[in-house]
């Protein structure tokens, strides 16, 4: 009894976003740490935090589509690219301010998402996978070859991000823009997951025919999932464009799409916390590998051009090992650790 009291939550607790007081306390500590990050962390760490933030937003977008609704997309980076290029073109060529460019990028991606969503309504499983793959390659191609608009691999340089006359062009400042948007996206995604709409999406994932029979409008919810997901992806892409300042076609390739799927898998499918953990993990992983393989490259200069292979191999291995050994992802590990301490003297 003493044990179960800690493990079982009642229905009312389940309905809350944060189930227990301790969750609130740890969240408050996290909030303080995040808000003061630029003051105690170095420039490099702030930059990594910015990239993580953008990746978290992007991964949350994919988790709505793939984690919640079960529609597998290999074209997520294409949606991010659409958002990024819309923002960049409006910023560089039309001179729009950032406050207009970010939503414009997101809306552009969302509209495309709706268009892509329609033909995919009839498709399932692997047919859908390959269709989104086709969308990815076609978008990539158009971005690369529509030179008059996108300047191909020369890239587009964005105007400095300004809000109300304040220049946010440094990582220290832009960090807060990303932080706010990442938190808002995370809360909204969590909220969506707990709402009627979110439950409908999960029903579509688990058994779409059964969902239709109990009165869920399949087409509506599938397209909704595409629109929400690509809106978030477009926002992430636009933010990324402002963060980097100069975007080129190779920021939004097929490998990036795979990377985003890897994030939600490593994190734990369909959970917001898991998605966040997974995104951070997949951002830190290549950094860690580079830190380790850098000295190797200086020690053996002959190997230097090939050293990039190591990170590709490790990245592949991480995906394989997670899927075989820990299908619940980082979220599953987190839950296990938590349960271990909660039930402490009675653990088995």
């Amino acid at each position: 009894m003493a044990v179960t009291r800690f493990c079982v939550r009642n229905y009312r607790q389940d309905l809350r976003i944060f189930a227990s007081p301790s969750a609130k306390i740890s969240l408050a500590i996290l909030a303080v740490l995040l808000l003061t990050l630029p003051w105690w962390a170095g420039k490099y760490l702030v930059f990594i935090a910015c990239v993580s933030g953008v990746s978290i937003i992007g991964a949350l977008g994919l988790s709505v589509l793939t984690g919640m609704t079960g529609l597998i997309s290999l074209g997520h980076a294409a949606f991010m690219g659409l958002g990024a290029y819309t923002a960049a073109i409006l910023s560089a060529k039309a001179g729009w301010p950032m406050i207009a460019c970010l939503p414009a990028g997101a809306v552009m991606a969302a509209l495309t998402g709706a268009v892509v969503g329609i033909p995919t309504l009839r498709l399932k499983g692997l047919y859908l996978v390959v269709t989104t793959l086709a969308f990815q390659f076609i978008t990539q191609h158009v971005i690369y070859h529509w030179e008059s608009l996108t300047q191909s691999d020369k890239g587009i340089k964005l105007a400095e991000p300004m809000i109300l006359g304040l220049n946010l062009g440094t990582y220290d400042r832009f960090y807060f823009v990303i932080l706010v948007l990442a938190v808002v996206t995370a809360v909204l995604t969590k909220n969506l997951a707990m709402s009627r709409t979110g439950r409908a999406l999960v029903a579509v994932r688990d058994r779409d025919i059964a969902a239709e029979i109990i009165g869920i409008h399949l087409a509506k919810y599938k397209i909704l999932a595409f629109v929400v997901s690509s809106f978030i992806a477009g926002l992430a892409g636009a933010l990324y464009a402002y963060l980097i300042g100069l975007i080129a076609p190779d920021h939004f390739t097929f490998n990036q799409s795979v990377l985003y799927i890897a994030m939600i898998i490593v994190g734990g499918m369909g959970t917001v916390l898991g998605t966040i953990l997974g995104a951070i993990f997949m951002v830190l992983l290549p950094e860690a590998i580079n830190a380790l393989s850098g000295p190797l490259a200086t020690a053996y200069p002959a190997l230097a051009p090939r050293i990039g292979g190591i990170s590709v191999v490790v990245y592949g291995m991480v995906i394989i090992l997670f899927l075989i050994l820990e299908p619940q992802g980082l979220f599953g590990i987190w839950i296990r650790i938590k349960r271990y301490f909660k039930t402490w003297p009675y653990t088995y």
């Binding site: 597998i72 390959v130 269709t131 086709a134 191609h141 070859h145 990039g308 191999v313 995906i319 394989i320």
Partner: protein, 296 residues
């Protein structure tokens, strides 16, 4: 003149199409037997070509010997991969399975880059580089050999599946795994065999592709176009995979030549994907795929 160019384009297209068809055939074989979608198939193709390259250049084996040795090597590699990585995933959700093979693809691509580097390598040419002139059209011998080799291989597989008991048991497993198991077919061995055969066809495709292009890790991206080919034909249809591959190969070559001035350079690179998008809108199960009937 116009006709000769058309003939040349079609032959080149058929050669590329044969490569796609062989890779797509590997996809279908594995998918039918194990319900697993092997995204690492293009990487197996690439690995096969690199093995052959290594055997020819470092061990100085003649082409035919290197070819056979590579096939044996690749069968072993595929069997090991199947047992270690893929078998635990049988019956898991689609996404998990796709990601495992995508991870595998990364590992193979990374290792290839580490060992052989990322620069283009010239594959030792087994065929004479003199062009073949037929009806005034100039053809690359390697391309013609690719088409012939594919045809021979396909006939061999047709006979294998129709008459040999191993082929029959593979077909039975593809039809209904549980029943096949109950009838005494060693399903595990069939799974391994399907990976071995898929790696054989992929290796042939890789070596053939390397004889008329270059050897580089990017090769696997060309192999990825076998995906639209396979989807075009229908995921569970072997003739569909072959026809889909040939259609894509020819179509992208024709598009590259005739549509380039209208749609810009490089249209051939995405022709395959455009075609598959259009076909998917009209026929969601491909040209020859069976429509899945779902029951709750």
């Amino acid at each position: 003149m116009g006709l000769e160019i058309l003939l040349q384009l079609v032959v080149t297209g058929l050669a590329w199409g044969s490569v796609y068809a062989l890779i797509a055939l590997g996809f279908v074989l594995i998918f039918k037997a194990t319900e697993i979608f092997n995204f690492a198939q293009p990487e197996l193709m690439m690995l096969g070509a690199y093995f052959a390259f290594a055997l020819i250049t470092t061990l100085r084996l003649p082409f035919i010997a290197a070819f056979v040795a590579t096939l044996v090597l690749m069968i072993v590699v595929a069997a090991v991969l199947e047992m270690l990585i893929v078998r635990p995933m049988v019956g898991e959700p689609v996404l998990a399975v796709i990601m495992v093979t995508l991870g595998l693809a990364n590992v193979i691509r990374g290792l290839t880059g580490l060992i052989w580097g990322y620069e283009e390598l010239q594959f030792p040419k087994p065929f004479s580089s003199d062009p073949l002139v037929v009806f005034g059209a100039v053809m690359n011998q390697a391309e013609v050999f690719t088409i012939l080799a594919t045809a021979v291989l396909l006939v061999a597989f047709l006979l294998f599946f129709k008459y040999s008991s191993a082929g029959l048991s593979m077909r039975a497993t593809a039809e209904d795994t549980t029943t096949a198991f109950l009838m005494g077919i060693n399903v595990k061995r069939v799974f391994t065999a399907s990976w071995a055969i898929a790696s054989v066809v992929a290796t042939v495709a890789g070596i053939m592709l390397a004889t008329f292009t270059y050897l580089e890790p990017i090769m696997s991206h060309a192999g990825l176009k076998a995906l639209p080919a396979m989807i075009l034909g229908g995921m569970d249809s072997i003739p569909g995979a072959i026809i889909g591959g040939l259609i894509i190969g020819v179509a992208e070559n024709l598009a590259g030549f005739y549509l380039e001035s209208y749609l810009g350079a490089g249209i051939n690179e995405i022709a395959a994907y455009v075609i598959v998008l259009i076909v998917m809108m009209v026929r969601p199960y491909g040209l020859f795929g069976t429509k899945e009937i779902e029951r709750v």
